[in-house]
């Protein structure tokens, strides 16, 4: 905390999204006056995004939950009673004890949304409690890449902007608007201004797609076919790194055999991308050294999730760009305790681990301890395979952000006991029995780590106290102590952080004075020690997938609800709907209440080709209904030639904090009313929900109510 008097400038690290941008925080008389980028910080070089720059408005927002709240009326009625932390935590602990005795710890589900560096502590709490059920976005966001790269080459390969790529292939990502968890968009902008070639794979025209040397505007959901087509070119035109393939690739012949099932004429038919463009892109990527692939979540939110990742990894490896400077690099682990140790995973008994919902069906997801959401909703609603009696969510708004929102809403309305820790009363928090006021990154002592994929760790500092808000870390610690976990937690947060930092040789107090720590980047480590896989090589033929009973080679599967799979649906639902394109001013369902951000983007927008709009009598700015077999919502039309006339792109994450009833308009424009969570559409190994491709129809709506 700071003294009153003159303005102080304190270095910290933003966590408006997953975090990672060094910032200067100006504090005067105990109030945050300004947040700016830190010019000395190596990942953002003083630049910031709109969300981080507006964060002051979130900290001091009049709608923030400032005290623990207990439900005072019926569920979802919006009547709350203020209570103390002791009462809230005692109530939760007593309830969990009862549930554990009666139904087993697995009946309690812990969850987080995007995760904000407290995952370590959430998992620790869950593991010590004895529940294997942690409900995250890990099945559709980053988790699949962690799990799949882990079994294929040992570790997540990060685009190495510090190594100066000469070619960047951006695949299903828009990092100039959102943080892809490692380097920020500024680093890509720098690479481009220094002349790096750019290939963009995206069904929509974005700034990057327009700027690209080659833009591959594919049919949504056909990424795997496109990547296999590129691999076909690289293999058959002998553009691959022969020495690398010979020494460090496992299953080359089998991989070549599979790739030969995808000649370019077939790939063109599947993807809508002209064969010569695919060839041109494959040649540019393979022949410009070094080249990196900047991949995003679009490749994960489909039935082809693990295979999309495996094929793109194959492109990195076969072209000699894996672990090469300026390519995709397996960064060293930062000098802190590793995840498994922090999460105390070994304390979760084997018999409990085996009860993980969906675990036996989705083995890659089980490997990283991620539960498929629908399994939780089903367990709540049907009691099968066993009942789920309590859900505790941190920074998560699944009513808005998970597929088949109507089912999510129903399940969370019906679960016996719901605890939500958040900044605001979101549509999800409104269904809770207890709401805990969460602290922002300006209100806590914390260590940020980029999911430990990028070698950096950095301190965050408590600069202000808002209401009775507490950090999620502290909440898990205090709750854990009430549930017999005392010896596994520090006496206070700082003591825990000392232990996190132990491998670095620093105490929290010392580390707090530093800007960051970084493990040194080493390249081509495989020359000395191979890759951390069962065969010690990059497994283009995956022995792990084979062991798990899946196809060891990647392939392309058609999405169940597509014009190809369900031609009979086209008459009623003629358009391919894609959802989830990122916005520059919001992070998923967050920030709709921040005045500076909402002013820039007041309404949900659906992108429609002008020809399609004309056909349906839709004009620019009109409210239109978008409807799928699951339901319909309204968004405002934006007419653009940057999208194929057969495709419509709707935004996700919309609710309306300004609607003061407890539902906050969650049904109005929430695109997940339309998405499906039928397991038929899941990736077989990850259980990833298909959020990106479904069929819809469009028609004009009257003014939004």
């Amino acid at each position: 905390m700071t003294e009153s008097g003159e303005e102080q400038v304190i270095k910290s690290n933003c966590r408006g999204c997953h975090g990672g941008c060094g910032v200067l925080v100006y504090v005067k008389d105990g109030l945050i006056t300004r947040i700016e980028g830190d010019p000395d910080f190596p990942t953002n070089h003083g630049t910031m995004c709109s969300r981080g720059l507006a964060f002051k408005q979130l900290v001091y927002h009049p709608d923030r939950v400032l005290y623990p709240l207990k439900r005072a009326g019926k569920k979802g009625e919006g009547r709350w009673q203020r209570t103390s932390w002791d009462d809230a935590l005692d109530t939760i602990a007593a309830r969990y004890k009862r549930i554990k005795e009666e139904y087993g710890a697995e009946a309690i589900v812990l969850g987080y949304g995007t995760g904000r560096n407290y995952e370590n502590f959430l998992y620790r709490f869950a593991n010590l409690l004895g529940t294997p059920n942690v409900l995250t976005a890990g099945h559709i966001c980053y988790g699949p890449r962690i799990a799949t790269t882990g079994i294929t080459c040992g570790r997540f390969p990060v685009s190495d902007y510090e190594g100066k790529p000469s070619c960047v292939m951006v695949w299903g990502n828009n990092m100039v608007w959102t943080n892809p968890d490692e380097y920020t968009g500024e680093n890509l902008c720098r690479a481009l201004s220094e002349g790096a070639k750019l290939i963009v794979v995206d069904p929509r025209l974005t700034y990057l797609a327009g700027r690209a040397d080659i833009w591959l505007q594919l049919r949504p959901g056909t990424d795997a076919a496109l990547a296999l087509g590129m691999a076909n070119v690289i293999v058959n035109q002998e553009l691959y790194d022969k020495e690398f393939v010979q020494k460090y690739v496992y299953g080359w012949d089998e991989f070549v055999g599979r790739v030969n099932h995808y000649p370019l004429d077939r790939v063109e038919e599947i993807t809508w991308v002209p064969a010569e463009k695919i060839e041109e892109a494959a040649r540019l990527y393979a022949q410009t050294k070094p080249a990196c692939i900047q991949w995003g979540v679009a490749i994960e939110q489909t039935i082809n999730c693990t295979d999309n990742i495996r094929i793109l990894l194959a492109l990195m490896a076969t072209t000699g760009n894996l672990d090469a400077p300026g390519g995709n690099v397996l960064m060293a682990l930062p000098p802190i305790q590793h995840f498994g140790k922090l999460a105390m995973r070994r304390y979760l008994p084997l018999e409990q681990r085996q009860k993980q919902l969906g675990g036996n069906a989705y083995k890659a997801a089980r490997r990283i301890g991620v539960t498929t959401p629908k399994m939780v909703w089903d367990a709540i609603l049907t009691g099968k395979p066993y009942p789920v009696k309590a859900v505790q969510l941190h920074g998560s708004n699944p009513v808005i952000t998970r597929a088949n929102a109507s089912e999510v809403y129903k399940a969370l309305s019906q679960v016996d006991f719901l605890v939500v820790a958040d900044f605001f009363l979101t549509p999800t928090a409104e269904l809770a029995d207890i709401v805990l006021p969460a602290a922002t990154w300006l209100e806590m002592e914390d260590i940020g780590d980029y999911w430990k994929s990028q070698s950096y760790v950095y301190p965050r500092k408590k600069l202000v106290q808002i209401g009775d808000c507490r950090s999620d870390h502290e909440i898990f610690m205090e709750l854990g102590k009430r549930l017999g976990q005392k010896q596994y937690w520090g006496d206070h947060v700082e003591e825990d952080l000392d232990w996190v930092l132990e491998p670095s040789g620093f105490t929290w107090k010392q580390f707090r004075q530093l800007d960051y720590l970084k493990a040194e980047t080493a390249y081509r480590k495989y020359e000395k020690k191979g890759f951390s896989t069962p065969t010690g090589k990059v497994e283009l033929y995956s022995t792990t997938m084979e062991k798990w009973g899946y196809d060891p080679l990647p392939s392309y599967r058609e999405i169940p609800e597509s014009p190809v799979s369900k031609p009979e649906m086209i008459r009623e639902y003629p358009y391919i709907l894609i959802t989830g394109a990122r916005l520059p001013v919001f992070f998923h369902s967050e920030h709709r209440m921040i005045p500076w951000l909402r002013e820039i983007h007041p309404d949900p927008i659906v992108e429609i080709h002008p020809q399609v709009a004309e056909k349906h009598g839709i004009k620019e700015g009109d409210w239109v209904f978008i409807e799928s077999p699951r339901g319909r919502v309204k968004q405002r039309a934006k007419l653009t030639t940057g999208i194929d006339p057969r495709v419509v792109a709707a935004q996700h994450g919309w609710w309306f904090p300004e609607v003061r009833t407890p539902d906050h308009g969650w049904k109005e424009s929430n695109i997940n009313i339309l998405t499906d969570n039928d397991p038929e559409g899941y990736d077989m190994a990850m259980g990833s929900t298909n959020l990106r491709v479904l069929l819809c129809k469009l028609y004009p709506a009257e003014e939004k109510s």
Binding site: R34, E36, M48, L53, W177, C189, S193, P584, V585, E599
Partner: protein, 170 residues
């Protein structure tokens, strides 16, 4: 040589992230309403043989012969020696004549204070040796600040749209 400050955006490099807008809001503590710098998407257009999505960025260019200054009935608007066109918030009577006069439509109105406002090139930051807030925040480094002649020279190599020069010269 007299220093003639201005701010110019190279829209070829603008990624449309809105960071400059919010940096400006924060720096000047602006309410909803006035947007001293504003970014919005252009319609997709064919540029150099390919479909591109560019952004339009509007802000005061600190014209050499500012029409806003000419029309102000209370002489609240001044062209300083260093090139900055400034509005004296105490003198402004909120008549909005300058808003009509501005050829770029970038003059803003603060509904709370009922005065005209616009980009002041962050004079307070300049005094502290810092660059304007939008320039510092911009992840694509596409906002150029400094002496107008220097920027034009720098950007000439980058095929700067010529209308900028025309507008500034009035």
């Amino acid at each position: 040589m007299v220093w003639e400050y201005t701010l110019i955006v190279n829209t070829e490099d603008c990624v449309g992230c809105n960071a400059c807008e919010v940096a400006c809001k924060q720096e000047h503590n602006l309410p909803v309403g006035p947007r001293w710098i504003r970014v919005y998407p252009d319609s997709p257009r064919e540029i150099e043989g390919k479909l591109q999505l560019r952004y339009i960025v509007t802000h005061c260019l600190h014209c050499r012969r500012p029409r806003c200054k000419d029309v102000c009935p209370v002489e609240a608007i001044a062209k300083r020696e260093d090139g900055i066109v400034s509005i004296d918030q105490e003198l402004c009577i909120g008549c909005k004549d300058c808003i009509e006069a501005c050829p770029l439509g970038v003059m803003q109105f603060d509904p709370e204070k009922e005065v005209a406002q616009k980009c002041d090139l962050c004079v307070d930051r300049l005094d502290r040796g810092l660059e304007p807030a939008c320039v510092a925040a911009c992840p694509s480094h596409c906002i150029y600040f400094g002496d107008i002649r220097e920027i034009i020279e720098k950007l000439a190599r980058k095929k700067l749209l010529t209308w900028y020069k025309g507008v500034i010269d009035g």
